[in-house]
Symmetry: D2
Subunit: 353 residues, 4 copies
């Protein structure tokens, strides 16, 4: 039996870093070499679920070498770290946003300034494993997708590839759980404020829009324009992406479901929800994805419906924003980069309830 690979986590005090630790503790071929944090908090007090594991934060300057580094950093920070890790022969999965957009002008406009190592952007595949598996397998740097982007790309890819909807008028409403706002306390994500509420934010120009358009345009071979509005909702984990497209031709729900099943055939983490629409039991057997059952997992649920009278196709996707939307997909990409089975360490199912 071979030695486990050594994994480093840069930026471990946030929710994505915590989820990485939780999952890597159970990964059969990886071990956590170190976890960095700039603050002076105690790891077990921040991530109380990890109490008793013995994990501790270190300063990045005290971190030793590792085989794979996960970068969990704010925008415009991972690009200052990635080059050194790559130079040392470490593979890197960036959970931040610095290597996602492949158009330099767009990057500079969206993220406010020039890139510190633009040359690396071209070699780092956008980490939707389902779309870029081969490139990821050969990469030393992967740009893990934004959570809204990942959900929406998976939800719409079969639809735009099949040309079933107008490509420039796709409306996406994305519901996110409160962990999407990060671990830092804020008024709007205080329990008292949000527990009985919901509100839209960044209504017309959320940064993930550009990732979605970039990737779907690649799938569709044609320019895709999405009209995205995120909505902040009172559940801790999860993303629900509700996508409305205007149909280019008459099509039934079953046909669309078949298109999805074919597109994702063999994908280990994607379930197409095809339960029948039976009004009599619709509140017992929901025929569409729901958020809760994916918490803590790398699984995705996709569903569709069709309004033949008004000419609309609705595609719905759900995932855990911290799991498939961040930490577990990063591990899936690591597995892919290392030639392991993609499911290693992340095959656990979500909680119910």
């Amino acid at each position: 039996m071979s030695e486990p690979i050594k994994v480093g986590i840069v930026g471990g005090s946030g929710y994505a870093g915590g989820e990485l630790m939780r999952l890597l503790l159970g990964h059969p071929k990886a071990e956590i070499a170190w976890v960095t944090s700039r603050g002076d908090k105690d790891l077990e007090a921040v991530h109380r679920n990890l109490m008793g594991t013995g994990l501790r934060f270190v300063r990045e300057e005290d971190a030793g070498p590792c085989d794979v580094a996960f970068l969990c950093m704010p925008s415009r920070e991972s690009m200052t770290r990635a080059p050194a890790y790559l130079e040392a022969g470490t593979k890197v999965v960036d959970i931040g946003s610095d290597f996602r957009l492949k158009d330099q002008g767009l990057f500079e406009r969206v993220y406010g300034g020039s890139h510190a190592c633009w040359g690396l952007v071209g070699e780092s595949p956008y980490g939707v494993t389902e779309l870029h598996r081969e490139a990821i397998a050969g990469a030393r740097l992967v740009a893990n997708p934004g959570c809204f982007a990942y959900t929406t790309i998976l939800t719409l890819a079969p639809l735009v590839k099949a040309g079933l909807v107008d490509l420039d008028r796709i409306v996406v409403n994305g519901l996110t759980g409160t962990s999407g706002a990060g671990a830092e306390p804020k008024v709007s994500s205080s329990h008292s404020e949000i527990a009985n509420s919901a509100f839209p934010y960044n209504v017309v120009d959320h940064r993930h829009t550009y990732e979605i358009e970039q990737e779907l345009s690649g799938v569709a071979v044609g320019k895709v324009q999405v009209h995205f509005t995120p909505i902040f909702c009172p559940f801790p984990r999860g993303i629900l992406s509700v996508c409305s497209g205007f149909s280019t031709r008459s099509v039934s729900r079953d046909e669309v479901l078949a298109t999805y099943r074919e597109f994702y055939a063999g994908e280990p983490f994607i379930d197409v929800v095809g339960l029948p629409k039976d009004p009599a039991v619709s509140w017992e057997y929901l025929p569409y994805p729901s958020v809760a059952h994916l918490a803590g997992s790398n699984y995705v649920q996709l569903g569709v419906d069709v309004d033949p009278d008004r000419g609309r196709i609705v595609a719905i996707g759900a995932m855990d924003n911290l799991g498939k939307g961040a930490a577990s997909s990063a591990i899936q990409n690591m597995n892919c980069m290392l030639g392991y089975s993609e499911e290693l360490g992340i095959a656990g199912r979500g909680l119910h309830p």
Copy 2:
């Protein structure tokens, strides 16, 4: 000082009936004459907030005469009751759905069968007070709107009237709180199931769609088609309607806000949220409506934004599904029918937090 008018509530064991009681207890010119329920439950055990008020359920056959009756009944049931009340000289506000749709063929298709008293439909104004104030003032029967419909109509009316968006491609995602599923326990609205979740339902043909299209087509003087998907969310009360329209011409957020302020000038219950979009404090001062602060009230918050690059206008509306979306708007309509100030008994502000 004149005698208070006597009010009857038909169907008081549900949430709308309970909210009517709560509000009418504080109405200066009305008193609750009776509340009916077909079950054998105790009113104070069902509506524990009313403990100590002395209110009791009676059988409808034991209910005496009253000046105004509120009907809180399932679809296809209020039409079996309204005629007798009207004949007895009682004014009626129907919180159910039997008198909302004004196209007979459409009614029969949407609600599955013929109408018991179609002649009354024509004389009963659709109860969006803001649009039909005069007709309501002269009516003896008012069809109170569905909660999604009320929110969406108010949210979109200024936009479609001003012709700012394409009328046939308006996409609406409506988030509802769990009380929207009624007081009867169901698997999907159990706390364990929904507290960490959200899911869409009736994705392409929700009945409220037809009310929305009917009313907006009236405002727009042109046929409006909305593409509506409701989403079930883990807060007890509230509706958030997020509406995306494709703009017909270039327009700024400020112009659209001005259009809204003008359209609703003088309306006592509508607040246009025009807080500036300042990213630095956006999580402290949300520039859009949010759900929580309207709970228990008759107030509505409306907001807008514009994406000039992609040609989209987003209009957002929020209200309490049981307040303005049912009970308090029914009282507003009663006030209007009786020539009272519309604010009587329903001027209370929502809770924070």
Copy 3:
């Protein structure tokens, strides 16, 4: 008709201040003269439920005279303000903690230092209206109780007065909603952290313990010692106090209920929950108080049970921590001080759901 009295609110950016405004807007004999805040936030952005009311924050130095001032300030701050208001002839209700404890040594130990105007403490009744009505009616300064204290005092007063339990071994577990931690964002009250959680805090020496012991010792004519532990719970509003006492003699639930009904006979805001214990329907008709139905109200629900085999009496009380536990009881005390009906402006029932 007489002029409304002018009310000032010192410290209006917190939850208690917001609730005071919400309620005073509907008070028939009072009007809000001014509301102060030290920060530079916009009142309508902080208390979004008050959008459209026209209320604005002012600096305390710009506030004019008023008839009654409510002080909503941190510990050790209202004692620096109260004297000036009293000197100007303004009546004061202190929602803070500076005038509650009547034992100087105890005050200094619990609140860390000497008192700025100890002479006023003696003349300010402890504001449980149900116990000190006459003193409050004649006072110019009232010390409004802490929320845990108010709930627990009302819950236990009949029991200790009747001598039904050992006075030195009463165990109290108090559940509080998240608004109890205040409006300032904190890690532990972030939605992501607390929505699926509950935790005890200040487990053995919470400051409210001393108020409870002071007041119950007065009622019991005998020293009462309570063993109090607060628990932070994921609902925004509410207090549930579960009190266990060891019975001094054999007694039935009905006898204890009768004791409570007699003790609180005629009290407008106290409901003794006496629903029968019927296991068959116990999940439909809870025979004990619950938190939710009191939100936004000044009402209190009390209930009891008896374990004859083990010799324990359990008394349970619930109220809204921001309503009866802070703002609405402060208004009740103001009403009492001014000779108004105590129910003025605060008779509204809680929400359901």
Copy 4:
């Protein structure tokens, strides 16, 4: 490598059955042979987290042989099944309540009637692995503890063993999440009803009381009497047991913590939370257990505090009611019965957030 053992689950439509499946899917030495359900629901529609696993419900009469059977059944039903499984050589873990109480008269009184196979009760250890490890290792039938009982026994065992508190006046308040009420929809566990609420139930004679007293009396070598009240709270998963005992002698928090650490030394699933009580950061670093971080896991957090002035020791325990409180502890017991490492398949950490 040996064949995996075959596991059967009798009663798989509830939450405990679902959690067993979720965990057993990842168990390296067990495979799910079959899962029974009496209803006609589809497994993947009931447990949507298991969508795509291929698991299906079967009728019990169609279930084949298995090595270990988990019984997830209502009171008084597993005793009708256990004998046949044992006769067939199958080992049984009963997650129900039929084999927990070892006093026949008490069983008959608490569970209403005689036992179908009392002879088996004596040979089935009470499944707190931490107390009965050796007996469980040699058993063919194990009585898995009730969730409140398990939490409370672990929380109090070191305290009563050390004789630090009066044994007959221990007051326990247990908070349970809503999954504790089961998967069947009920009014009181509807989201609208409980999301903003909390209420006590079975206030003085909850059945788990007897398990707690039985087990703690065994540990203490002296009769222990607990005064237990459960409280229903708005989080889906988790138990928090807050236990107050009157101290028999002066003792410090550190001494009590040391007693706990010694008692549970080497236990793989028990973490004694010994963070310092620092008021300055107490809302960031809670020095006591909290519920959320244990969800989905087999871990337990225990904490203590001491009130020297009033002579009270408080012990606090938290676990996941469906994990350590039901399914994962059942697997721990299975591992123990089969001679496996106890951690097999259940070492995963809880979610944060």
